[in-house]
Symmetry: C2
């Protein structure tokens, strides 16, 4: 992979190596020099691809967010998901289980991350935070399927009711020291219920 002066794919290699370090030793253990060394490259080489350490971390966050988003998308195509209510429950469960399985990702993803979100359901906002966009579209679909006509502020409340339940249980599920009797999959669905 490193047979010449030029690495060839250093940018991606740095992201990959960085993610590996974070997975194995936590975000604190991430240093530009270690990442560079892991790619067999000098300690200043990353600066050809990233302005600073923060930029590399942001790129890693983007990759994790992409994986996360893909997992959410897959969840609505699971067997048994035939209507929008089940889709919301299935995606909410996937959301929560993602962070239950990778507890450190919760803070890693949401810390210092500017997350653009619009709760207005009448327009399209392509640049909004993708996981949120998926939820927003599902709620919208739910309204359409069930011919629900609510005033804008009630729609906003319903949207945030669902998202906060999911976000909150994810936060709790990612905490060390929290032991619950009920399986997280069941808790997920129970906590989301009531909004719709």
């Amino acid at each position: 992979m490193k047979d010449s002066y030029h690495h060839g794919n250093l940018r991606n290699a740095l992201i990959e190596a960085g993610l590996k370090i974070i997975n194995e030793s936590g975000e604190d253990a991430l240093s530009l020099r270690k990442v560079a060394a892991a790619c067999g490259v000098s300690h200043a080489a990353p600066y050809a691809h990233f302005a600073d350490k923060e930029s590399l971390i942001e790129a890693i966050k983007k990759k994790v967010t992409d994986d996360f988003t893909e997992e959410l998308e897959r969840s609505v195509h699971a067997p048994g998901v035939t209507n929008s209510v089940e889709a919301i429950l299935s995606m909410g469960e996937a959301y929560i289980m993602f962070f239950r399985n990778k507890p450190d990702y919760f803070n890693f993803l949401f810390n210092k991350q500017k997350i653009q979100v619009h709760t207005d359901m009448t327009k399209e906002y392509e640049d909004d935070y993708p996981p949120f966009l998926l939820f927003r579209n599902l709620i919208k679909k739910f309204f359409e399927e069930n011919h629900v006509e609510l005033p804008a502020d009630q729609q906003e409340i319903m949207l945030l009711k669902t998202w906060s339940a999911v976000q909150g249980l994810s936060s709790i599920a990612s905490m060390e020291g929290v032991e619950v009797k009920t399986p997280w999959e069941v808790l997920a669905r129970e906590c989301i219920k009531g909004g719709e």
Copy 2:
């Protein structure tokens, strides 16, 4: 405050100075040497009071958590809080507004913090995470006031339903780039409703 070789109250001064730096410049800007300098003390002096940087940060976290807990306790004594439902709503609102007013505290408090929590309502767990304890006791009070007799797993679900709504809206309220039309105080109450 520093008129002799011995500082006299260095431990608290370090915590205070550290918190000030975090409030003004963020957690990343916190360094032991800066904290020491702010207290007019040599760079290695903190090691007489804290094992390492992490220990100081933990002490700062404890202080912020104590303030947070006090604010929650105050909220249930607000005028208009006459029953347990209103108490839950009032405390939930206070919880969320705390993080809305100090967005950076959300990640600061919950990141890498081992938070002990028991959802079993039949026993007392004094060492549990204090803000959670307050919630648990309010839910318990609600059951007693309304003579609700639910099986243990249903009680657990109700508890986590409430806490996840509060925790989730706090997480969302602490995000940069999230703009909502409804006031957060209203959202708070709306999101908590439905559990009880």
